[in-house]
């Protein structure tokens, strides 16, 4: 079993960007451009109830008053929102009763990505929701999970089948007015995953969503909502890939996490959207809002991300630590090679007493890549005994790339202890030569050194993901030295 996993992961992660293929499948697309009619059309396509449409329209009207944020250390070409297609769905039969109803081309696609949707074949202990373009293709292991009261389904299904839960929690962490991209998402989001873990239940397997962009000129706007009720536990994984295309594609997702009293949520991402070619042509614009709230006492939310893809990444997975003694964690490795840019980090908002947060950020820049850490640690007046530890490291390969750190610290309670450490280092010729002298090639040496540097973060990932992430780091940096 273990060997099979290694082999599988080896196949899907070796070589250059291997997910750049396009699936030839009939796609239901709406005309490009954005208007109130388009928002209504998306809602109609999804056969949504009135309250959902209202939410979208409120968001859309608000979005029209907003401007794209420009404070990030990024150079973003102008985006023409009238040139984007906001909804694309692989055509398939109306209702999916079994796997045989899924289009074989779709199955092949996810097979190629190493995400078999046939449950008996699947990596042990992981349930998957596969999302292609705007639509959830298939969610595995639903019945098994349902026996424990766990809801794991596509967002669209949740809107229909669990409207009470969706209405209670939707936009409770990221309001529709939050920011330009989150507001846009609120208006046009197409699908995503929904997960609810009932009181006292430890989810017995990793839950995972696999996002795939396929259609061209399409934006992907998915929305994920994760709720861990009192004393519940879940570990959630997210993976993403896209075809190689010359034009940029927009991905603006929203992820909301709610941890009730005593609950724990672990959210891991391996982001491998197409990064563009060596000259910086094409690639995904990844403008994502991810936020969790530790709502109840003694709750915990932990973000782990490995960001190797995308032309531009703009992303700050954050924790609102409202419950007393709640804990927020952020572990991140972000790689920028060639002309990739990343402005990523976190916000830790300490509201409750004795709240604790840990931030470990490891940036790796190569080629002409620009990598920024941006983080906010905010301790409110009532957050007696709050503690934060932040560590931001940057690793440079070559002399044409950049690493930047923008830490913001705001403390309104004198008992708080906030620590910030930062380092910048370079992969030394001498480190590489030392490996060479032991028979290790330069490419492998860089892989070893980079993985060593990122080990603290990689170790936080579930096993299957850790293996993939390690190989991914090495591949992302191929050709960056020597």
């Amino acid at each position: 079993m273990e060997n099979d996993q290694d082999k599988l992961l080896g196949e899907v992660t070796s070589g250059e960007y291997k997910y750049g293929f396009v699936t030839d499948i009939e796609t239901d697309v709406i005309p490009k451009g954005l208007s109130e009619d388009v928002v209504r059309l998306i809602s109609a396509k999804k056969e949504e109830p009135e309250w959902m449409l209202e939410f979208r329209l409120k968001a859309f009207r608000h979005w029209q008053t907003m401007k794209m944020p420009n404070w990030a250390h990024l150079r973003i070409p102008e985006i023409d929102y009238q040139e984007i297609i906001f909804y694309a769905a692989p055509k398939q039969k109306k209702s999916l009763n079994s796997l045989s109803d899924v289009d074989p081309e779709l199955l092949k696609t996810f097979d190629k990505l190493g995400i078999p949707l046939e449950e008996q074949k699947h990596l042990a202990g992981v349930a998957v929701d596969a999302v292609m373009d705007s639509i959830s293709v298939k969610t595995t292991f639903r019945e098994t999970l349902a026996e424990m009261g766990i809801i794991f389904c596509s967002f669209s299904e949740a809107v229909k089948e669990h409207p009470g839960l969706v209405q209670k929690y939707l936009a409770s962490v990221v309001p529709y007015t939050d920011n330009f991209f989150a507001t846009l998402n609120s208006a046009v989001f197409s699908d995503g995953s929904f997960c609810y873990i009932p009181k006292g239940v430890r989810c017995p397997m990793e839950l995972s969503t696999y996002f795939r962009i396929n259609a061209s000129n399409t934006g992907q706007f998915e929305r994920t909502l994760l709720i861990a009720d009192e004393d519940a536990y879940v570990s959630y994984l997210e993976g993403c890939t896209a075809p190689m295309r010359d034009e940029n594609q927009l991905h603006a997702a929203v992820v909301e996490i709610v941890a009730e009293r005593g609950a724990e949520v672990k959210y891991s991402t391996v982001q491998n959207w197409y990064p563009g070619d060596k000259e910086g042509k094409g690639g995904i614009f990844n403008f994502v809002t991810k936020r969790g709230i530790c709502k109840g006492d003694n709750s915990k939310i932990s973000w782990t991300q490995v960001e190797t893809g995308s032309a531009i990444t703009w992303k700050y997975p954050s924790c609102i630590l409202r419950g007393n003694n709640s804990v927020g964690e952020f572990y991140s490795v972000a790689v920028t090679n060639n002309y990739q840019q990343a402005d990523t980090g976190t916000k830790m908002i300490h509201i409750g007493r004795n709240t604790k947060s840990t931030i470990v950020s490891k940036g790796i820049s190569a080629g002409f890549g620009q990598n920024s850490y941006r983080g906010l640690v905010k301790v409110l007046g009532k957050a007696e005994g709050a503690r934060n530890f932040s560590q931001c490291d940057s690793l440079l390969l070559g002399d044409k790339c950049g690493a930047h750190t923008f830490p913001y610290i705001e403390v309104d309670n004198p008992s708080a202890i906030v620590e910030h450490e930062a380092t910048t280092s370079r992969i030394g010729e001498d480190q590489i030569f030392y490996c060479n002298q032991r028979g290790i090639s330069t490419e492998d040496a860089i892989g070893l050194i980079v993985n060593g540097y990122a080990r603290e973060v990689i170790n936080k990932l579930p096993m299957e993901f850790a293996v993939e992430a390690q190989k991914l780091l090495q591949i992302s940096l191929e050709g960056s030295v020597g």
Binding site: G428, D430, Q431, F433, Y434, C435, N436, Q437, R438, G439, I440, S441, T442, D444, L448, I449, N451, G452, Y453, A454, R455, E456
Partner: protein, 265 residues
Amino acid sequence: MQTEFLIQIKDLKASIDNKEILKGLSLEVKPGEIHAIMGPNGSGKSTLANVLTGREIATVTAGTVTFEGKNLLEMSPEERAREGIFLSFQYPIEIPGVSMVNFMKTAINEQRKHRGLEPLSASEFLRQMREKKELVEIDSALTNRSVNEGFSGGEKKKNEIFQMAMLEPRLALLDETDSGLDIDALRIVANGVNKIRRPDTSVIVITHYQRLLDYIVPDFVHVLYDGRIVKSGGPELALKLEERGYDWIRKEAEVSEETWTTDRK
């Protein structure tokens, strides 16, 4: 063509930043022999180690180096290592976050691949780690840590010898392995080298001082001065250098127009 020499260096010239450092160095080493290369600071000792291991700091401008009949200078640094050349670094490098286990396993399996062998199984690898750790008297906690990270000077040198034990080279270059070691550490490191040497392992000991040669007894001692080997002899030459310093060599070298070659008995 089979040759009786493991490595044959002929009239080697090399420069760093257009400054000639090695000015026609010749040396021949047979399997199983121990050669010591001694010389004052700046004589080219470290450059020789760099050139033999393929470090790009130095540029070879003339001469040949043949290793087991193959042209060594054409090989990449990693190929040389896989062919069996090992350098014990004067200043071992730290690689944070990379465990010794992972590092050693990668190195050994690269070498095995080069020789057409299957990768070592995890259990066999760990068995070898244990065995070699005992042989070179390295604290087993050290091999659980990251490569050289936070090691003391002595620990780093021991770790070099441990790696040598694991990789079982044909030719080991010990570059100032005695520097920074107290007498106990020196003894452990030197005994380690003696214990792991197989009868056909050759060693080139590069050193400023004689004291390491009390433990690793050389068959030949060469004096490197101003980029050339200016005098060769047996172990007694090292003692003479210890006693009299390098000044008399300097005087001798300056009066001689001759290029010295290995003085074989």
